[in-house]
Amino acid sequence: MIRPALPYLLAAVLAGLGVYGILARRHAVLVLIGVELVLGAAGLVLVTVAQTGAAGDPGAAVLTLFVITIAAAEVVLALAVLLALFRARGHVDLHAELDAHGEEEVRGRA
């Protein structure tokens, strides 16, 4: 029976790393990885809860599986869209302008 503090701490670190990745990285895939880190943190918390017996039902562990599965599905879709983005724009830079149309519209007004 391990103390839950350590896994929670690790989860926090993971989540922090993920958020950092999301905010700091330009490359879409790296941002994707950041999201995965956050999901990992969530999974870790769930597993810990399930193991420390805080949860009365096995739902927590099952939920972890759910999260992982959904994450996988997301990654697939995300990569597909990013591929399309690369085809269309030639880059997968998330700092790039997404709404040029609206931008020029605003400029034209202002």
């Binding site: 905010l23 997404l98 931008e103 007004r109 202002a110």
Partner: protein
């Protein structure tokens, strides 16, 4: 000095002879209703129904006045038949104002009934006269209607037993005076004078309204008799004093007491019949009536009496002096009105519960007769000679013999020479003032009043003498008098038809020299009343009266004679026999301008108010409204900012999401 017998007024009064009991026709309502409604309906019909026909309008106007006159006379008779000589009547029923009682009733007592008769009579004469005077005026119809309305309002004030009704009549008269004075609205002078009249009186009325508020709020009812009873029982109190002082201020405005006096002479811009009506019987006298109705309250509140006395006395003397210096007969009469009305009010201040207010009402009646006569005659002469300036009027009474007695008797009555009606009323006033002096053991107010009445008598005599000298100057002396050959004035016996003269080639001048029989009849009636009206003042119906101090009487008469002689002396050697010509030009000019009261009004009231108004308008537009404008502009600006700053890149959007999450989480944990 021989000890004169002590005569009391009641000795002079006629014995009350029993009247036969006439079979009274059972009419709807009371005579008061008829008098007020007849004139009111005449006004409405005159405006609404007469279409374009002056003739119909004249019938309506004169008919209404006639009906009112008959009704008031009938009312006199009914009073003799009623025990206690008080007759009340309801009007439109009480106002449902919750716990505030507003019955809106009428009440007739003897003195007021006589006043009502006088008002109706003068109105009747004025209506008949106006039909002639405004023959060529395209706006005769509204004029006649306004006169009817004016009469109705005055009758309402006289007969009302409810402060609200009094206020109604009071304000309506103010508006009618506006319309009458500004009758010739194409002349800016007339419009200006009218606006001035309305504004000055209405400003003073603020005091009147507030006074009524205090009285009504204290008594919990608007019925005058109940209000008087309540406050009289309550005795003197600060509230009562405040109320009466405010009322006096209002009265001072309507009755043109100092410092509100200046509107009245300017009101001469109106047609002469209007002036006669306003000055003789109605508007300026209304204050006297109201204060007489509230006399018990006035007599117990010292400050109000003091204020009234001081204002009245100042006005009385000052106006008499100014009247002497006027260069225009109508303005002279106007100032004399100011002085005479102040006389009525002063005696109200001096009277005690013992004497009662009737002396003021008596003088009101007397003044109504001779002042109406004087105005109408002046207008007549003005039409004949084409103006009312003294220079034009000179020797008018000589040229037109028909005017001679009218002017003469009117001026004699005004001066208060026996046996004319003015003499009796002035004696009543003197007696009352003296009684007040005696009662209060030489109190300040009665003494002041007595002194200033004594001072006014010779002044009045002086300007009457002056006017008479000018009017009756022999014509032969002047060459230009030959222009008018003194032929007898022609008559028009057809009452309401256009004079035949107009069709003749003589031209308008001679045509205007003619006067319709109705107008002539009216002035004649007034003339008779100035002579024999004293009988009315001696009727046994007037309230408790004072002694008549024969020494005082003799003294005043002597003073009057002396001043008249002085004037005669001063007039000697002046080409126009105008004593006022001795006065330095500057002084007389200032006098004609009413001592520049206009300037004072403008500096003290008009300019500050307008400045304040501009400031308010600016503040409203620039400060208050700017918030609303700012809201619109600001929201658009914020929207623009939000639009420009809303993230268009992926990463800032994600940052926003995470930041929002953090903020919400913090908020949630804090508030949990």
């Amino acid at each position: 000095m021989p000890d004169l017998p002590d005569v009391t007024w009641s000795d002079l009064q006629l014995p009350s002879l029993p009247l036969p009991h006439l079979p009274a026709p059972d009419l709807w309502g009371s005579p008061a209703h008829w008098a007020i409604l007849a004139t009111l309906l005449a006004a409405l019909a005159g405006l609404g129904l007469t279409g374009r026909s002056n003739r119909l309008a004249a019938w309506v106007g004169v008919g209404g006045a006639l009906l009112a006159f008959l009704a008031t006379c009938w009312q006199l008779y009914t009073l003799t038949q009623i025990e206690g000589a008080r007759r009340g009547a309801g009007t439109i029923g009480a106002l449902p104002l919750g716990d505030l009682d507003a019955p809106l009733r009428l009440l007739v007592t003897w003195p007021l009934a006589i006043v009502a008769v006088t008002v109706a009579a003068v109105a009747l004469v004025v209506q008949g006269y106006a039909r002639w005077y405004l023959w060529y005026d395209p706006r005769y119809r509204p004029f006649a209607a306004t006169v009817s309305l004016f009469t109705s309002a005055m009758l309402l004030v006289v007969l009302s037993d409810d402060l609200l009704l009094t206020l109604v009549g009071w304000e309506v008269m103010g508006w009618c005076s506006y319309l009458l004075v500004g009758h010739q609205s194409t002349r800016s002078a007339a419009t200006r004078a009218a606006s001035k009249a309305l504004l000055v009186t209405r400003t003073a009325d603020v005091g009147f309204v507030l006074g009524l508020l205090v009285l009504v709020a204290g008594a919990g009812t608007t019925r005058t008799t109940d209000v008087v009873r309540h406050w009289a029982e309550a005795g003197p109190s600060p509230a009562l004093t405040a109320a009466m002082v405010l009322l006096v201020v209002g009265v001072a405005g309507k009755s043109a007491l100092f410092p509100f006096q200046d509107w009245l002479p300017d009101a001469m811009e109106g047609p002469t019949p209007a002036s006669a009506l306003i000055h003789a019987a109605t508007m300026v006298a209304a204050g006297t009536v109201v204060l007489a109705q509230l006399f018990p309250l006035l007599s117990v509140s010292g400050p109000a009496r003091l204020l009234l006395a001081v204002l009245a006395c100042v006005t009385m003397v000052g106006a008499a002096v100014l009247a002497f210096a006027q260069g225009d007969l109508k303005r002279l009469l106007a100032w004399s009105t100011v002085s005479q009305v102040a006389l009525m009010l002063a005696v109200l201040a001096a009277a005690t519960m013992g004497t009662g207010p009737d002396a003021a009402l008596q003088h009101l009646v007397a003044h109504a007769w001779f002042k109406a006569l004087l105005f109408l005659t002046t207008g007549w002469l003005g039409v004949l000679v084409g103006g009312t300036a003294m220079a034009l009027m000179a020797s008018g009474a000589r040229r037109y013999r028909v005017l001679r007695h009218r002017f003469g008797w009117g001026l004699l009555a005004l001066a208060g020479v026996p046996p004319f009606v003015g003499f009796f009323s002035k004696e009543a006033i003197l007696g009352t003032a003296e009684a007040g002096t005696a009662a209060t053991g030489g109190g300040f107010v009665p003494v002041l009043v007595l002194a200033s009445v004594g001072a006014t008598a010779p002044l009045t005599a002086a300007y009457c003498m002056r006017a008479w000298l000018v009017l009756s100057r022999p014509t032969a002396a002047q060459g230009h008098a030959r222009l008018y050959e003194p032929d007898p004035v022609e008559r028009i016996d057809d009452f309401f038809d256009e004079p035949q003269v107009v069709q003749e080639a003589e031209g308008v001048e001679r045509a205007e020299a003619a006067i319709s029989s109705s107008a002539r009849m009216g002035t004649s009636a007034l003339m008779l009343m100035t002579l024999f009206g004293g009988v009315v003042l001696l009727l046994p119906v007037w309230g408790p009266q004072a002694h008549v101090d024969l020494q005082l009487m003799a003294a005043t008469l002597l003073l009057m004679v002396v001043s008249a002689l002085l004037v005669r002396l001063a007039a000697g050697g002046v080409r126009t026999r105008d004593a006022a010509a001795r006065i330095p030009a500057g002084v007389s000019l200032a006098a004609e301008r009413g001592l520049h009261a206009d300037l004072a009004y403008r500096v003290v009231v008009v300019t500050p108010v307008l400045a304040l108004a501009r400031a308010v308008a600016w503040f409203d537009a620039e400060v208050l409204d700017s918030w609303v404008r700012g809201a619109g502009v600001g929201s658009r600006l914020l929207g623009r900012v939000g639009d420009l700053t809303s993230p268009r890149r992926a990463t800032p959007a994600l940052a926003l999401v995470l930041a929002g999450m953090l903020a919400l989480a913090a908020l949630g944990v804090v508030t949990a």
